[in-house]
């Protein structure tokens, strides 16, 4: 029998005292890798599975310490700031080690499920008191199914409540094997129209919607629907009515809805990944607009929280 503790995966963060990723006080584990590329992505550092260099130009003082240590000689100083040739960079992380200004970081590291579980179970006493537990988020947790399963099983054996935050894009068979180990699903609904969904995220939504139905009907799992509100991209009244309609009729009104207004968190991150061309600029929706959209969902009998 294989030991779940030894399963390897790539994560980019473990956040303690997460209070907005499910019930109670939680620890959220962020897995790297995502099959979607949403235009409004808040965590672009999570898209690729392998670790990546994160460069914060605001902090770089151009001291050139990184230039000296790079095994690939991929760094030079241009206009007083270090610049990395990403075609050559193999993410050795040497530069991040020596950077005195915290301008260079490697996002993502290889870990075992056992190592992560140790961090998660350290807070078990807080879960007990608050009704919390672990949330696996990402990225997209379903891109590392084996790692997710091991981590979830370790939690379950320790009676720690498990939640997954997923976009639902995976084959049902693969998704099911992961979800069988989960107590609560946070499920993203980005757009109801298949072609619009493809345009916004890079993939169509048939599989996603189909999986949502199966999660509720076959696995009978409780679900919170998470609906990002990206002005001009997916916030038309038609689309949000269709979303509400789908949730209410296909999934049932026991599904709670969290509206997540777009914010600019991801924009700076694109710069740090030195992929500014992929960055978009949208104005976050104002409170009145979000309130108006909340009313739509409520009119379908759905308990709706704005801001998650």
């Amino acid at each position: 029998m294989t030991d779940e503790r030894d399963t390897r995966g790539v994560i980019f963060n473990v956040q303690h005292y997460s209070i907005h990723d499910g019930p109670g006080i939680r620890t959220t584990v962020f897995l790297k890798g995502c099959p979607l590329h949403c235009l409004w992505c808040q965590n672009p550092e999570s898209q690729a599975v392998r670790p990546e260099l994160f460069f914060n130009a605001e902090r770089c003082q151009g001291c050139a310490k990184c230039v000296d240590v790079c095994p690939e000689h991929a760094i030079e100083i241009v206009d007083g700031k270090s610049r990395t040739n990403r075609a050559v960079c193999k993410t050795s992380g040497e530069c991040a080690q020596v950077c005195p200004n915290d301008a260079r970081n490697v996002m993502g590291k290889y870990v075992t499920a056992g190592q992560v579980f140790k961090q998660v179970s350290a807070d078990a006493i807080f879960y007990q008191r608050s009704g919390g537990g672990m949330t696996i988020s990402g990225g997209e947790p379903l891109t590392q199914p084996q790692f997710a399963i091991s981590l979830l099983k370790l939690c379950r054996d320790a009676a720690i409540h498990t939640t997954i935050d997923t976009c639902g894009y995976a084959t049902w068979d693969s998704a099911r094997r992961v979800l069988e180990n989960v107590d609560l699903v946070l499920y993203d609904f980005k757009h109801m129209d298949p072609s619009a969904h493809k345009k916004l995220t890079g993939v169509s939504n048939e599989l996603i919607l189909d999986n949502a139905k199966k999660i509720v009907r076959e696995l009978s799992l409780p679900m919170f629907a998470r609906v990002p509100i990206a002005p001009g991209l997916n916030d038309s009244l038609t689309n949000l009515r269709a979303t509400a309609q789908f949730i209410a009729t296909e999934l049932g009104d026991s599904v709670k809805v969290h509206l997540l207004p777009y914010h600019r968190l991801g924009e700076a991150k694109y710069e740090r990944l030195e992929k500014p061309s992929q960055s978009i600029s949208i104005d976050p929706p104002n409170d009145e607009r979000v309130f108006e959209l909340q009313k739509i969902f409520e009119s379908f009998g759905l308990t709706t929280i704005a801001g998650g």
Binding site: Q15, H16, Y17, E58, P100, L265, G307
Partner: protein, 824 residues
């Protein structure tokens, strides 16, 4: 005078029909706004009126017993000091001879001209004539103040070098003037009020001062001169009668003033209010309070008599005020809107008691620091939940009138209603940093270890920041802030103080000669124990001088058996004797520094002790040394739920508690360990060289006492809490844990429930205290400039939370703007 105690509820102060809640809320808002607006002054006046009256009385009573001199000095002040009633006030009794003023104090130390000049630069104002008069008054007080008298015991170089070092803050400059400067405070009682005590307010509210006077008169008649104490008892009882009578007279001055003002008042509503004030002041505090309104006024007069004191505490205000509230409410004499208005008026009255001190002490207690603590919640003596409607109204008053004072502490036990936690956290959310939360479990356990019976222990109150007291039965001396990292600094220099170059400590050996960490740790503990013993000597000198100079018949008669004991409270043994404490500041920096040494020099052998010492002496300046600093920062640190680092923090606090328990106090009994920091981590840091935990010379020490050093905890609040709970806090009279949150992490009721669970978990693990700093725009801007110090700052984004310093500048700017939007 002794048979006039009337039965209550026969003659009510306000037979007027009650206005509706809506009417009251509207009028009350305007009143509170107007009163609050007057708290914001450009300059705080410093007056000489009180010190003039005190000095006048002291001069007239030369040679008489000190307790009687003090009673007469108080009587002189209360009979003659300027009094006034401000527009819109419902509770009356001014704290100084001018609004928002402080009065020069004669008890602590002398105000030299350079200290007065410094005061003027810091937002205080005096008149030319007053300054000249103060100079003359100073002549009389030389050698008679606390500092002047203490200085007479520091002839010995061993003690004098210690006092100059500032290991106990602040460093002394001269034996005559100490660290320089005296105190200047509001409050019309006898000073300096350094003792932390719980006074029996309920006794005054329920019995009236006439009852105390009657008891004293009766006790006088019983005296037979068969032992040495009898003579002293007579002096004491006479002092009590004189002082309490003077307070009654003082209240009557306000009654007369209110009547005079009412006579000239054209606004009929205000005329009515003034007439009512007059009627109330005629009655209380001489007689028992008839209703809530009386009780509030009676409380305030007594509070004014127990100040000046930065640490005067109201005790369990929601408990002893509750019967007055409940009776009035049941009888339809008052409604919650009126109670809320009075509670806000009380907050404003407390804001009028200001204080300042000499430069060095101002740093130690930054701002107009004071700790007027109101305790609410907790268990009853029987062990049931004590929360009542007033507990909520006290919190509500802080929410409606968000002034920094008075402060509130919520006692939390397993049965504390979640509703009280929610209400408390709603107040925390406003960003005023209160209420603080303390654990009944930990405090009651501490008291039981001190031999206090369970029922009594359950009735504990908070005085000062977080110091535990039992009403009428215990006291805590003021004590120095012991700068633990400075002791480490001295240890690392083989006993030499870095600032004065004097041999302050023992010669425990050169640092590079220790062959192993255990040997080094043992030597450090030897040094620490020695310095602690000198600090205890210093405390004892202070205790004896206070006993000699500051007997106080008012506070003494409000202690248990205050009349029959026949002695000043400092001359008797108390049921719970916690007279002297030792209080380490920056212990976490010491723990982190020693952990760093252990890891880097002895375990991993990455650098030699000599290299580290050279880097420290260079204050990390230079590339090579900066590299060593980075290695030091990378070593395990307290606050991350890492046993390697947390073990040493536990060990050091345990050692401190053990040694403290062996040191005698001048009041009888042993010293007690406590761990609170106020703002000493700033001046304490200023005295301390670079430390192996990666801290620069002069940099602030860790705040609180179980809080991690800022920027060193990287795993969020749960890890910090777990680290803190590895320190055994039971032997400590108090510990202090600060946490920072962004308001968006306390946005919804659900968020508050989670924070409440965090608090309860910590207390379940043995934590004593937790308070939250819900950060404002200013902090966020600072965090933007110095992200390394704000790593643990959690901000709510949307759908999830993030660490503020990890965000890009644009987003940070947006959140800063957002916060501003949230500010009311």
């Amino acid at each position: 005078m002794n048979q006039v105690i009337q039965s209550t509820h026969t003659n009510f102060a306000h037979p007027i029909p009650l206005p509706s809640a809506q009417e009251i809320i509207g009028a009350s808002k305007t009143r509170i706004q107007k009163l609050r607006a007057r708290l914001f002054v450009d300059k705080y006046p410093v007056c000489v009126e009180k010190i003039r009256l005190l000095t006048e009385a002291y001069k007239q009573t030369e040679g008489e017993p000190m307790i009687l001199r003090r009673a007469q000095a108080l009587a002189n002040v209360l009979a003659k000091i300027t009094i006034f009633i401000e527009d819109d006030e419902l509770i009356v009794g001014n704290a100084a001879s001018q609004p928002m003023a402080v009065e020069f104090d004669c008890d602590y130390g002398i105000w030299s001209q350079d200290e007065i000049d410094a005061l003027k630069q810091d937002g205080f104002t005096t008149s030319q004539e007053d300054e000249i008069e103060l100079k003359t008054i100073n002549e009389y007080w030389k050698g008679k103040t606390l500092v002047g008298r203490m200085g007479q015991f520091y002839d010995d170089e061993r003690l004098w070098s210690f006092m100059q070092s500032g290991v106990v803050l602040p460093p002394w400059k001269t034996r005559a003037e100490g660290s320089g400067g005296g105190y200047a405070q509001g409050g019309l009682g006898l000073g300096p009020g350094f003792f932390l005590c719980g006074f029996d307010f309920a006794r005054v509210l329920n019995g009236g001062l006439n009852q105390i006077i009657a008891e004293a008169e009766n006790e006088l008649k019983q005296i037979r001169f068969t032992n040495a104490d009898a003579v002293k008892k007579v002096d004491y009882l006479k002092a009590v009668i004189l002082a309490q009578g003077a307070i009654i007279h003082f209240a009557h001055r306000f009654a007369n003033l209110a009547r005079e003002l009412a006579a000239c008042e054209s606004d009929p509503a205000r005329k009515q209010e003034l007439a009512q004030i007059a009627e109330i002041c005629d009655r209380v505090p001489a007689y028992p309070a008839r209703d809530f309104r009386d009780a509030m006024q009676s409380f305030w007069f007594m509070f004014l008599m127990l100040t000046p004191s930065t640490t005067a505490a109201a005790g369990r205000f929601d408990q002893y005020m509750f019967p007055f509230y409940k009776n009035d409410l049941d009888a339809g004499r008052i409604n919650d809107a009126q109670v809320l208005e009075l509670l806000q008026c009380l907050r404003i009255k407390d804001m009028q008691i200001n204080r300042t001190s000499g430069k060095a002490n101002r740093q130690k207690n930054a701002g107009l620091a004071k700790w007027h603590n109101w305790t609410i919640g907790g268990v009853t003596p029987e062990g049931n939940d004590a929360t009542n409607e007033l507990s909520y109204l006290i919190l509500e008053a802080a929410q409606c009138c968000p002034t920094p004072h008075h402060t509130i502490t919520v006692r939390v036990h397993d049965g504390t209603p979640e509703k009280l936690m929610q209400k408390s956290l709603e107040v925390v959310r406003t960003g005023i940093g209160m209420p603080a939360f303390v654990s009944d479990k930990s405090y009651i356990e501490f008291l039981l270890t001190q031999g206090v019976p369970l029922r009594t222990a359950r009735d504990y109150i908070m005085t000062g920041c977080l110091d535990v007291n039992i009403v009428g039965q215990s006291r805590i001396a003021t004590y120095g802030m012991f700068i633990a990292p400075l002791a480490l600094d001295i240890f690392m220099r083989n006993g030499i103080d870095p600032n004065t170059g004097l041999q302050v400590g023992l010669q425990t050996g050169a640092l590079e000669n220790f062959s192993g960490f255990d040997e080094l740790l043992t030597a450090f503990k030897k040094q620490l124990a020695y310095l602690m013993s000198v600090a205890a000597e210093r405390n004892n000198i202070e205790l004896r001088v206070m006993t000699e100079l500051f007997p106080d018949p008012v506070r003494s008669s409000l202690m248990v058996d205050g009349i029959t004991a026949g002695k000043d409270m400092l001359h008797r043994k108390m049921p719970l004797e916690n007279g002297g404490v030792l209080n380490p500041i920056g212990m976490i920096n010491v723990a982190d520094s020693l952990t760093t040494l252990k890891w880097l020099v002895f375990d991993e052998k990455k650098i030699s002790m000599r290299e580290l010492q050279t880097a420290l002496r260079a204050n990390w300046q230079g590339d090579e040394y900066e590299k060593i600093r980075q290695q030091c920062l990378a070593a395990p640190k307290y606050g991350n739920d890492d046993d390697y680092a947390d073990a040493l923090a536990h060990d050091l606090y345990q050692f401190w508690a053990d040694i403290t328990g062996t040191l005698d106090t001048a009041l009888g009994g042993k010293h007690i360990p406590t761990a609170i920091s106020i703002t000493s981590h700033a001046p304490g840091g200023a005295l301390t060289s670079a430390t192996p935990d990666g801290r620069f010379a002069g940099e602030c020490l860790a705040d609180g006492t179980t809080s991690p050093m800022r920027g060193r905890d990287k795993n969020g609040p749960t890890a910090a809490i777990k680290s803190a709970s590895k320190i055994d806090q039971t032997p400590y009279q108090a510990t202090l844990m600060n946490m920072k949150f962004h308001p968006t992490a306390l946005k919804t009721n659900e968020d508050l429930r989670k924070l409440s669970a965090l608090i309860r978990t910590y207390f379940g693990l043995g934590g004593k205290h937790l308070q939250f700093n819900v950060v404002t725009k200013e902090t966020l801007i600072a965090a933007q400039k110095q992200p390394e110090n704000y790593r643990d700052l959690v901000v709510r984004m949307a759908g999830y939370s993030a660490y503020f310093v990890q965000l890009g500048k644009t987003v940070q700017d947006e959140i800063i703007a957002r916060t501003e939007h949230h500010q009311v």
